[in-house]
């Protein structure tokens, strides 16, 4: 297991966002985290990404217990999170966005060619097609932006990639592109945690599905054994 979350609880004032939640993420597997609004999905990934601290519970990374108190802790462990808003600078080109905050340089001078080649190789290896990576991100499609954001997460050589609603604002074709990209992350041996509202996408790309309901675990399924009705029943709490 790359990441094991045990008995995580988090309370915001009167709201119990998470209660004794458990989550296992394995290398080379896409785990989907599903649940209705308010089920605790966002809180759970914020705990994993170090954005909020859990009240109690334990997290182990590659078998060792770890403390993730800040986003930086998560990053140095090898946990990369791609948030829904992507956090790209629209005015900068693809290369600059990939290396944002981690620019390669010689004494402060940017190594444009070196970075562009690395970016080109990375995007090619992920089969992400962008005609000109020297164009500002503002000119890209939603799917291409998502791909750039995911590719950027990979530059830090992570072991776990957390994707928050990567297909939420995309059309059919662009969703297919992003799902294909998620499969390639799995082929690279990465653990992938996919948060999604879209059960069709979840069933298409995941290996395992973890359902949260009202801040508690409400079922773990192997995607091959599950069907949409079972998952929906787990999400809504209706007994199938």
């Amino acid at each position: 297991m790359v990441l094991q979350v045990r008995d995580i609880s988090k309370r915001y004032g009167a709201v119990q966002a998470l209660q004794n939640v458990r989550l296992d993420l394995a290398a080379g597997e896409v785990t989907a985290l599903v649940g209705d609004n308010g089920a605790g999905k966002s809180t759970l990934i914020k705990v994993i990404a170090g954005v909020v601290a859990a009240d109690h519970g334990t997290i182990s990374f590659e078998g060792r217990p770890v403390r993730i108190n800040r986003p930086h802790d998560a990053q140095s462990l090898g946990i990369a999170t791609v948030y829904q808003d992507l956090a790209l600078c629209e005015n900068l080109n693809v290369v600059a966005n990939l290396f944002l905050g981690a620019e390669q340089h010689h004494g402060g001078l940017l190594r444009h060619i070196h970075m562009e080649r690395t970016a080109h190789e990375l995007l090619t290896s992920l089969d992400v097609r962008i005609p000109d990576i020297r164009q500002p991100v503002a000119t890209l499609s939603g799917g291409q932006r998502q791909s750039v954001a995911i590719a950027r997460a990979l530059l830090g050589q992570p072991k776990l990639v957390v994707l928050d609603e990567p297909t939420a604002s995309l059309g059919v074709e662009q969703t297919a592109q992003v799902l294909a990209l998620i499969r390639r992350l799995r082929e690279r041996g990465l653990a992938v945690l996919l948060i999604s509202h879209n059960l069709a996408d979840v069933l298409a790309v995941s290996d395992r599905i973890t359902v949260l309901r009202l801040g508690r675990n409400a079922g773990d399924y192997r995607t091959d054994d599950a069907d949409q009705d079972t998952i929906v029943a787990a999400i809504t709490g209706a007994r199938a």
Partner: protein
């Protein structure tokens, strides 16, 4: 980036052409070498302040204190060198340091206390002007010796051979770097732009430089002030595009939250930009004092600040941050100063001049707003 530059530059270059033709037809002196030389001298000081404004506009911020800071720095320099008999170099260094310190202070107030830059620098506009008046005291005017270094700055003309050598050197260096870049990109297996697209701007600038040298050579030669100003524009542009810190200024201007999450120290970048702006304002103030060979109570006052901001925007720096190049300051001040100069030649009242400048500014901001609306992704 190059495509963006073309879009940004086209309207202002077209505007310059219209201005040149209009005033050229209305008054035969407008395009005469002597007048163009005066134009170059007039624009250097405010242009340098405008260059500083570009630095903060790139962050999507504003610095209203730049005019007052320029005046204050000039007064500091003059008092130190004339009244206190400090060596000129030391006086200039201390004046620049004053600018840098003011910019840093304003940047810190903006980032640490979360005060809007508009308010911090509005206070600066008033306060530094007050300090300037206080320092000048009752006298109100201090003259700089005409033969001194500072006054000489704006009364020095490059001999023809030197102008041609500098221009040739710049073009050769640019061509060589471009050729090297193409070679390196080919070796790295990266796409290379067509040769004519790389060569065309170089040829264009070479022609422009040659034209300028010939034209200004017909009068007193290329003024040192112009060389200083253009050098600053070019150096800052290279710095912004090819250094880590420059890249980060664009990143913070484009999306501060994304920059913060990428581990960039957003506040440090902001303070640096404000310090750079105020330092450039100080340089501009010294150049203005050099032109006048004096400082007085109106140093850095009247419409200097407004013209500097208008120039940056007219030249194509976006008010919304993240977009623009330092050439905006050069082109914008050229537009504004041409209008001013042309209207003075025509004996038009300054009331008309202000209204025309306002019209140009409105057109420039409209273009900026439309470009922003039209860009894909802006709707999100």
């Amino acid at each position: 980036m190059s495509q963006r530059l073309t879009i940004g530059i086209t309207p202002v270059v077209a505007g310059l052409a219209v201005i040149a033709v209009t005033f050229g037809l209305l008054n035969e002196h407008f395009l005469a070498p002597e007048n163009l030389t005066n134009l170059m001298l007039q624009m250097a000081a405010t242009g340098t302040i405008s260059l500083g404004i570009v630095m903060v506009l790139l962050l999507g911020e504003i610095d209203l204190s730049a005019g007052s800071v320029s005046g204050l720095a000039a007064v500091v320099m003059t008092i130190l060198s004339v009244n206190r008999h400090l060596p000129v170099a030391a006086a200039i260094a201390l004046a620049l340091l004053t600018g840098a310190a003011i910019g840093t202070l304003q940047g810190v107030l903006f980032t640490r206390l979360g005060m809007p830059s508009f308010v911090v620098t509005l206070a600066g506009l008033i306060g530094w002007q007050g300090l300037l008046l206080y320092l000048l005291g009752r006298g109100g005017t201090i003259n700089l010796p005409f033969t001194g270094f500072v006054a000489k700055l704006s009364d020095t003309w490059l001999p023809a051979w030197l102008s041609w050598s500098i221009a040739a050197l710049a073009i050769v260096a640019w061509s060589a770097v471009t050729a090297l870049q193409r070679r390196l990109r080919e070796t790295a297996g990266l796409p290379v732009t067509a040769l004519w697209r790389a060569a065309a701007p170089i040829a264009g600038v070479a022609a422009l430089l040659a034209g300028t040298i010939v034209l200004l050579g017909a009068d007193r030669g290329v003024p040192l002030l112009l060389v200083l100003f253009v050098s600053m524009v070019v150096a800052l542009d290279l710095g912004l595009r090819h250094t880590v810190i420059g890249q980060r200024i664009f990143a913070v201007g484009g999306n501060p939250e994304a920059a913060r999450r990428a581990g960039i120290n957003v506040n440090a970048v902001r303070v640096l930009a404000f310090a750079a702006c105020a330092t450039l304002a100080a340089v501009g103030g010294i150049l203005a004092a050099s032109r006048l060979a004096a400082v007085n109570q109106s140093s850095g006052g009247s419409d200097i600040l407004l013209m500097a901001i208008a120039a940056a925007v007219i030249g194509g720096a976006s008010l919304f941050g993240g977009r623009g190049r330092t050439y905006a300051a050069l082109l914008g001040i050229l537009v504004i100063q041409s209008i001013t100069n042309g209207m003075l030649l025509l004996n038009v009242d300054s009331s008309i001049r202000f209204m025309v400048t306002a019209g140009v500014l409105i057109v420039a901001v409209a273009i900026d707003s439309l470009a922003r609306k039209g860009s894909p992704g802006a709707a999100r």
